[in-house]
């Protein structure tokens, strides 16, 4: 059972980080379809950074920058030039997939992807708390980025709910004209939100490479960015809701892995569908009373 719960947390961590980033972007009024590309860029940058420097911390820093770079592309095209959010997101996902695969092959020269094997980051037990029976192993014995994710949930909740900047960001997603009238610049707010979203999602990608797999392979996020997008919808655009959704998705995947190892004849494909179907059901159930930020996806007026 503990194994199962631990697997759930492990699978949910990269999703949750990406979803937290996505909340920043969507609450500011920009659809976060580019999460997949941001995660992938982060995963790549983290691997290469940690490999080249021998320092996982450098890898994390580069993951933030790599994800932010993709975020910047979205910010320029979708916010500054007012292109369709969704299509821009698709475009950066394609760009990121191509660019990471290409760079992976030219780093070593010779056209073959370079072989990198990193030792995955070890768990850091929190002194004192980790000794609590059961709970200690489950909650307080994790690799560093898992703690960062939990901390991020708290921080983002406080930021959105309790700070002036958070209020401005939410207002930009609901009514950019009001933000403009109050003296802030919705264009800048949205661009910053999308770039931060990229950085955080990039760190989510780093979880995969630095903490779990130890290497980078082409397109290794394999839809996790879209899963994070589904999670933040299911979580109704709140950090805790999204994190809970990620845990549910993680549990579904962990459950599926267990079933496979026991040879239970339940179709894994049907279980894998669950997150997307749940997200659709939540959206359909919300209907008009949707918590979707009112001005999401709408380009800013020219005067701004």
């Amino acid at each position: 059972m503990i194994e199962f719960l631990a697997a759930t947390i492990r699978i949910a961590t990269p999703l949750a980080l990406a979803a937290l980033g996505g909340i920043l972007s969507e609450r500011a009024g920009v659809f976060a379809v580019g999460l997949e590309g941001m995660m992938l860029a982060g995963a790549f940058a983290a691997t290469v950074g940690a490999w080249a420097s021998g320092e996982p911390a450098i890898g994390m820093l580069l993951a933030l920058l790599g994800g932010a770079a993709i975020g910047l592309a979205v910010a320029i095209v979708a916010v500054r030039f007012r292109a369709d959010n969704m299509v821009t997101g698709l475009a950066v996902n394609i760009l990121s997939l191509g660019l990471t695969s290409y760079l992976m092959r030219i780093i070593a020269g010779g056209g073959r992807p370079i072989n990198i094997h990193l030792t995955p980051l070890a768990a850091v037990p929190i002194p004192g708390l980790a000794d609590i029976p059961v709970l200690g192993r489950l909650l307080f014995t994790h690799p560093p980025l898992t703690y960062v994710t939990a901390f991020g949930c708290v921080a983002l909740t406080l930021f959105l709910g309790r700070t002036q900047a958070g209020l401005t960001l939410r207002a930009t997603g609901e009514n950019p004209e009001a933000v403009f009238a109050s003296g802030a610049n919705p264009l800048i707010v949205r661009m910053l939100a999308v770039v931060s979203c990229g950085a955080i999602a990039g760190l989510g990608g780093a979880v995969l490479t630095l903490q779990q797999v130890g290497t980078f392979t082409d397109g290794m996020t394999s839809g996790r960015g879209y899963l994070a997008l589904a999670a933040l919808i299911v979580g109704r655009w709140t950090p805790w809701g999204a994190a809970a959704a990620c845990l549910v998705f993680g549990a579904a995947e962990a459950f599926e892995l267990r079933l496979q190892s026991f040879g239970v004849p339940v179709s894994s494909y049907i279980i894998q569908m669950a997150p997307y179907v749940i997200a659709l059901a939540v959206l359909a159930g919300l209907g008009q009373s949707s918590k979707l930020p009112a001005a999401i996806g709408q380009p800013l007026q020219r005067e701004h």
Binding site: F31, V33, A73, I76, V77, F81, R82, A83, D84, M86, V87, T88, L90, A91, V92, N93, I94, L95, S96, L97, G98, L99, S101, Y102, R105, I106, G109, G110, G111, D218, G223, Y226, L229, A230, I233, S267, Y269, I270, Q272, M273, Y276, V277, A279, L280, L283, A284, G285, G287, Q288, S290, L292, G297
Partner: protein
Amino acid sequence: MSEAAPTLSLAAMLQARRVRLKPSGLAGRILLALLLSMICAAALIALSGHDPLAAFAAIARGAAGSEHQIGASLNRSTPYLIAGVGVALCFRGGVINIGAEGQIAVGGAGAAATALVFSAAPAPVAIVAALLGGALAGAAWAGVATAIHLGRRVHEVLATLLLNFVALLLVQQLLAGPLGQFGAGFLQSPLMPRSTWLPRLPGFDAHPGFLIALVAAAVCSFVLWRTPFGFALRVAGSSRLAAAYAGFSLARLTWGAMLAAGALAGLAGGIEVLGVHRRLIEGFSLGFGFKAVTVALLGAMEPLAVVPAALFVGLLESGSLAMQRQIGVPSALVTVIEGLTMLFVLVATVARK
């Protein structure tokens, strides 16, 4: 409001007409975007220590150096063109349908299932039936998205995007169950009956799918520019308010565009299955739907202009494999070019009208 609305609607209608009268500026901007992404690609090639001009030459030779290679490039372009035309139709009407990825996969499965049922029928009947089966399956999948979008007011992008993943898993489930070949080791259907294979065009190593695609583009262009439905769609795309004021039913327009796009995407999937693989394979259409969006954008949502756009992407992709073999520049470069082109074209078509 009652005074302002008629002028608003008239202006939108005039604008819907004018787009066609002055396409030259738009075409120029798109070509500029294309040039920019090529310059970026050249920089990336240089970064890998190779000569960009030699790499581009290798792409050109690999894409169109022989009849065999031209055939392969045409086959590549076909699904992008057919599905891309449908996407263009939707985008023109302001319906952001990014569900082609799933609709193609479901269409392929529909065509494969129909082909297996019609295995005893004579070739022309079996082929037509299988392709119709694919188109129907694609349209049905688009219909699910439309029903969720209109019925429950879910944003169409989220509905189509999320259904893509469900569709891919559904096809995998079908391949693991009723459509699968037992004991194949990986997810694929048995070989399709010979009577449903698309024939080869004489002289070229291509199936007639590209001809079907050209017809589809011409028909869509006609529908968009010469029918009341197309006119209403263009008005709705320019201004929902104007379309509603003019009495066009937005729901009916959305249904029409989505079903047409779904049927086209399904047809693309069917052609890929019957013409290229001759069986349904897991992931046979991976990324096709997103490339359909790429070519629709590159073609400025103009069905006839999607033809050169799809040809460009198809030639680029089939040429890049030759580039990788001969010069050693990774073929992933093409994916970079596609992504960059999309971004530049987005900026070019939105910025400064």
